[in-house]
């Protein structure tokens, strides 16, 4: 009888998911061989584990006392085996590290969630990582010192790899929650000091604010943002020579309420991780499965992780990375729509847009917090949705510029600054643009200029309408844009699918691009999915068929999936 499977366990311990390397979990003498045998995407993410290097306040160890803290040795190992590494410096409590990454002498005030519960996360080895509040001024002071030490160490040892600031999030009930989010007394004490300072500077009438819960919430958010940006600033300034930007990761199973499910041996189910995984992609995070045990990461979850969190996907999130042809010629997630929310997490939900996209264009939309378009680069032909409420004058200018460059835009006029509404009217009149107006649930106006389209509407008219009416509204409006996409009927619970595309190669010149849909059955039952045939698409082949039967029928393709089954289907797309 085999009692243990040491090799597999050690691989999962050291490489807990995707391209992450938890180097401190193995002997430094094995780093080189581990890195050379690693099969995952590049670059390898190497977290900077503050608590590892700084066990006591006066001691900073980078290989002086313990070899496992020797980042130079690790860097040299990677160089020797030709493996690119990127260092990740956590800018928030890191759920995959003991104490959230903090040295134990600083781990004093537990992070508290909105239910008043201390936040703890189970790692992939069933250890409990407790998170601590980053609002403790002692932590910030020590972080500043640590960043300077890391910077000095990297420069003295000629370690030339990129350093990224890593922000950690989890997904709870479809919403992203930062590990910076805190309701502890430590947070409240800091917030009181913030209010006192504002009152002292004459920026705040404290009495008035205390009687307005809405105002307090806004101020708390501002305070939180300010503290986060202090950490970001310190890290960026200290490590400027190696600094490559910030990356936002969302950890599967990292939610504060996930602990109840994950500590039970009879509860955890991989299908819940599927919706988290796909939800994270719509929020534009890099999903990470490093917290999940190997036992839970079986097919089809492990397959989906490999297909979705692929090297091109990771590279596309790395800000300073040249997103060269090598990656753009590979399969990338299809994104038809970008929804700009102006920091309002409820935007586009009340008006039914999100529900419509979830039904008709599953996982092909991305939420964006801020408009950040580089007009010098190609910005694609995505359809962009903007909320007028909170739209700044400069963002409005960018919207107009996008439109003039041929973008297709939806603009919600509800709550939009009156001055900007007038500027839009004037712009249409002055340029004699073609404008069609209809009244359909909401006043709708379609302005066109060459390829560019702006469709304006008022979400306030939709909010109280029945869901079916909202869905119909969006179906009608989006049909104006003539999006070419295949329809999949796989609405049975537990069947998920995800679209990728890549440009056609020299052997596929009949097609403009190749679209791939990967279908996964996460249940213990047989399931079925149908893809209706459509103009502009030709079925090419099945890829990586596991426990699946694919049948061609006169009306399209039928996929019969056994429990845990998965398959990818390639279609050629032509105009």
């Amino acid at each position: 009888m085999q009692l243990t499977t040491p090799e597999a366990k050690e691989y999962d311990t050291v490489f807990p998911g995707e391209n992450w390397f938890f180097f401190w979990r193995t002997s430094p003498s094995l780093w080189e061989s581990k890195l050379s045998e690693f099969q995952g995407p590049s670059p390898v993410f190497v977290p900077i584990f503050w608590g590892l290097h700084n066990e006591s306040p006066d001691v900073l160890d980078f290989g002086n006392y313990r070899p496992e803290t020797d980042l130079k040795r690790l860097y040299d190992c990677a160089q020797r085996v030709g493996r690119e590494i990127a260092l990740l410096l956590p800018l928030s409590p890191a759920p995959f590290l003991p104490n959230g990454g903090l040295p134990s002498y600083l781990a004093r005030n537990l992070l508290i969630d909105n239910n008043g519960l201390a936040v703890a996360v189970l790692d992939n080895d069933t250890r409990l990582n407790k998170m601590y509040s980053f609002y403790d001024p002692r932590i910030f002071q020590a972080f500043r010192g640590f960043c300077s030490s890391v910077s000095r160490y990297l420069s003295e040892n000629a370690i030339a790899c990129d350093v990224y600031g890593a922000k950690a999030y989890s997904l709870q009930f479809g919403r992203a929650l930062s590990f910076f989010n805190d309701h502890s007394t430590t947070f409240n004490r800091g917030f009181d000091r913030y209010l006192a300072q504002m009152a002292h500077d004459g920026e705040l009438d404290k009495e008035k604010v205390l009687n307005n819960p809405g105002e307090i919430e806004t101020l708390k958010k501002n305070y939180s943002k300010q503290i986060q940006s202090l950490y970001e600033q310190v890290a960026q300034e200290s490590l400027s020579a190696n600094w490559a930007g910030e990356l936002s990761f969302s950890f599967l199973g990292g939610g504060s309420s996930d602990i109840f499910e994950r500590t039970s041996e009879h509860w955890e189910h991989p299908s819940s991780y599927f919706s988290q995984l796909l939800g994270m992609t719509t929020l534009d995070f890099i999903p990470s499965s490093v917290l999940l045990s190997p036992a839970i990461k079986k097919d089809p979850l492990i397959k989906a992780l490999g297909e979705i969190v692929s090297e091109p996907f990771i590279r596309s999130h790395m800000q300073n990375e040249l997103y060269d042809e090598e990656y753009s010629s590979k399969f990338n997630p299809i994104v038809f729509f970008e929804l700009f929310r102006n920091t309002n997490p409820n935007a586009f939900i009340k008006d039914g847009l999100v529900q419509f996209l979830e039904r008709q264009f599953s996982w092909t939309f991305r939420f964006k917090e801020a408009l950040n378009v580089n007009f010098d680069e190609e910005f694609g032909n995505k359809i962009r949705f903007f909320k007028g409420e909170g739209l700044s004058a400069s963002d409005f200018q960018s919207v107009i510029k996008l439109f003039m460059n041929g973008s297709r835009i939806f603009l919600d006029l509800t709550g939009m600054n009156e001055d900007l509404v007038r500027r839009l009217d004037t712009f249409v009149l002055e340029n004699s643009l073609k404008e069609e107006k209809i009244n359909y649930v909401s006043p709708v106006s379609k302005i066109t200029l060459g390829e560019g389209i702006i469709i304006t509407y008022r979400s306030e008219k939709l909010e109280d309408a029945p869901l079916l009416k909202k869905l119909k509204f969006w179906e009608t409006l989006i049909s104006y844009l003539n999006i070419k996409h295949l329809d999949i009927q796989a609405d049975e619970a537990g069947v998920y699918y995800f679209w990728h595309s890549r440009p056609s190669n020299a052997y596929e010149l009949s097609y403009e691009e190749i679209r791939r849909v990967s279908i996964y059955n996460t249940t213990s039952y047989k399931k079925k999915a149908k893809i209706s045939g459509a103009k502009n698409f030709a079925f090419l082949k099945t890829v990586d068929q596991r426990k699946v039967e694919v049948k061609s029928t006169p009306i399209g393709i039928e996929v019969h999936l056994l429990p845990g089954g998965s398959v990818s289907l390639d279609f050629g797309f032509y105009e």
């Binding site: 537990l110 239910n115 703890a120 250890r127 409990l128 039970s264």
Partner: protein, 129 residues
């Protein structure tokens, strides 16, 4: 849900003002998953005094009574009731999944389901009397 499981109930006290407070359920689950929302919703009706979605109670006694009724309805052996404050204290002593699973048993107040304990004693009577 299997019979004779242990339920765990996590609550917090919300201060509504100087003189009034509410007891709110944060989580109610067993090792097999959350307690069925239908069971909760049906048994909560007599305790309901508001129109919100939240599971609020006027007193801890009401919460205990509700927990017992859920226990009886689901044929659970017992329910461990724990406040968020005690949860946080207990969590500080946990290092892994196993110690976390013991948290409710170690730090919570237990209410036994009399129906299930009677059944247990009957079983013993059958063998030993």
């Amino acid at each position: 849900m299997r019979k004779n499981l242990s339920l765990n109930l996590l609550y917090r006290i919300l201060n509504e003002g100087e003189d009034s407070s509410l007891v709110e359920i944060i989580n109610f689950f067993s090792e097999e998953g959350p307690v069925s929302s239908k069971v909760i919703s049906d048994l909560y009706q007599p305790f309901r005094f508001h129109n919100e979605q939240n599971l609020w109670f006027k007193t801890l006694e009401d919460l205990g009574q509700f927990a017992l009724e859920v226990c009886q309805e689901t044929h659970a052996a017992e329910v461990f009731i724990l406040s968020n404050v005690d949860y946080n204290i207990g969590l500080d002593t946990c290092n892994d999944a196993r110690s976390f699973r013991e948290l409710f048993r170690r730090y919570g107040n237990v209410i036994e389901n009399p129906d299930q304990s009677r059944k247990k004693s009957n079983l013993f009577n059958k063998f030993f009397n």
